[in-house]
């Protein structure tokens, strides 16, 4: 199929991770999450995941273009 699914996955999780990091930075640690700043930390995890997906998609897209020509 023409669309590499890693693009939408990567963009969406990067976007969500940014939202979480901002919320975490503004709100600080939460007593609900056992006193941890779970939004900030989990936001960073999601950011790594999202960017990883984007890199994967970009790399295989470049390979395909070179292979095609």
């Amino acid at each position: 199929m023409g669309l590499d699914i890693r693009w939408p996955i990567g963009i969406m999780f990067t976007l969500i991770s940014v939202l979480l990091v901002i919320e975490g930075a503004l709100a600080g640690p939460s007593p609900k999450a056992l006193g941890m700043n779970i939004d900030l930390w989990w936001g960073i995890v999601l950011l790594v995941f999202g960017v990883g997906m984007l890199l994967g998609a970009a790399r295989s897209g470049r390979k395909k273009n070179e292979g095609g020509k």
Partner: protein, 644 residues
Amino acid sequence: MQPIHLAWVDYAILLAYTGFVIGIGFALRRYLKTSSDYLTSGRSIPAWVTGLAFMAANLGALELVGMAANGAQYGIATAHFYWVGAIPAMIFLAVFMMPFYYGSKARSVPEYLNMRFDYRTRCVNSISFAVMTVFASGISMDALARLLNLLLGWDYNFALLITSAVVLVYVLKGGLTSAIYTEVLQFFMIVLGFAPVVWLGLKDVGGWTTLKERLAQVAQHPAALALNDKTFAPDAWSSAWKPILAGSEHNPMGVNVFAMVFGLGFVLSFGYWCTNFLVVQRAMAAKDMSAARRTPLIATVPKMIFPVLVILPGMLAVALATIPGKLYRLPPVPIAESAYAPAIADLKAATPDTADAAFDKISRDVGLKMDKAKVAAIIKANSLSPVSDPALKAELQDAVGENYYNGVILSLIKRYCPAGLLGLALTALLASFMSGMAGNVTAFNTIWTYDLYQAYIAPKKSDRHYFIVGQATTVVGIVLSIFCAYFASHYSNAMNIIQLVFGFVNAPLFATFLLGMFWARTTATGAFIGLLGGTATSALFHALTLATGDVPGIKGGYIHVVTYFPSEMAQNFWLASFAFSVCFILTLVISLATKRTKSDAELKGLVYSLTPRLKDGEQHFLLRPAVLGVILLIACVILNIIFW
């Protein structure tokens, strides 16, 4: 339950997900040209994508919510649905059955049945499957609308319409590919949305060792949490096999080894994973034979570790409930809105002297088992100084003595998630509901368009015609699902009905496939009568048996109760075993008594012994399906031993 307050960040995450799902539908639209692109994805998707979709298609919210519920009720033995049930069946599908499904060029499971047998078995299977998908999607929608109503205070009708509109748009635009892509998105959403909740829960309980100690306490006094009337050995919630090997009296599921291994492990699981078009369709959309065979194999890897995400939360919840300082209780069954008025009137009329009589009356008003001491305390407090109606409502709800297991996962999300994480976890939950609907609607599309419309109503039309019919079917399918959702909303036991029907249809069907694929002598008449006989056996078995504690009716025993089973799960496993055996024997005997209608040449590619072996030799040794299958099976056995 009090509606949860969502912050802007929660809504933003929810919107981002919805936006991407719809966006994918639009982005894929330009790749769709033929009916096959729309209904079977033109067989073009890479294996890791179909593999994750294969797994996620089954990961509807009913599974997420239900597995946590089972984890609380039965403990780690629930993992058998994965380790004994799903994994071997998925490997069998990949190694033995996929070559016939994919190699025959059939576009659906019923179409394969038509090639192997004749139109009769195809017709029975397509109709029963089409009906099931519409109901399953309707029940998913109803559950989602109820959840939105309960959680966010949205209007039920509005919630129903808005979610079906989202699904309609992305399935209509992107067809099966869109559904599959969304399932992959949903897969990551669930993993990344639930993982922090589980981690926080485990940390809160105090780690795995403390969890086991707490579960030992639960097993010895399950009545304290209203889990079970019996008492069990300390490891009943934390060991997967020992309590089951000890016999049906010694585990909260009430099943023995035979029912577990044959009923669940063999019949129910193989029936579901190997013949249910909803999941098989994902593998059929793969880009080539080896991708199709790798699809279920890839799916086994996340499937093996998923119990951590879906079953562990249930176990954590019961463990938490035993720790007094944690102020956690298993959610009680919600009281129906209409039951409050009479119950509160009776509460107010009662005095501490008449508390016993009032307790019986109030229990009847509410229609649930109530906690006597708590009700007496409310009556006492109210007679000293009158309590306001809303406060009485809340106290009454708290006094319910029955657990609402399906609410376990939500109660944990509510407990641990601050704004932000809350949005993520709820989006994961909503995603699973929506993709449950989409999966069923796309399967319904293919079956209706190819197996009913093209086969019996309007054969030999142009491809454009079927493309348009496919799209129209999406609209019709969703409208029918909405009707089913309203139907389901009127019957609290709609869920039970559909699960029952699944059992009725799937269990005998696997016998038909097993004989059809591996025994060339199986005849069309044998398969047809065997399938009908097997389904009839399910119905009869259900009408004659009952789980202890249930009333005859929808749960069984409506003709006459011949045998009682210790639990509904045991009843289910035995029903499947019987239906399978009857279908197997009937098909076998009738096939021997009737003439074959198809020659060996016609059955080439459809029956194991008449099909040339696939050449796996060209692939790397470790990538061959059989080799991969064995490795995965060993990994699964090791998991079983670790949690023995």
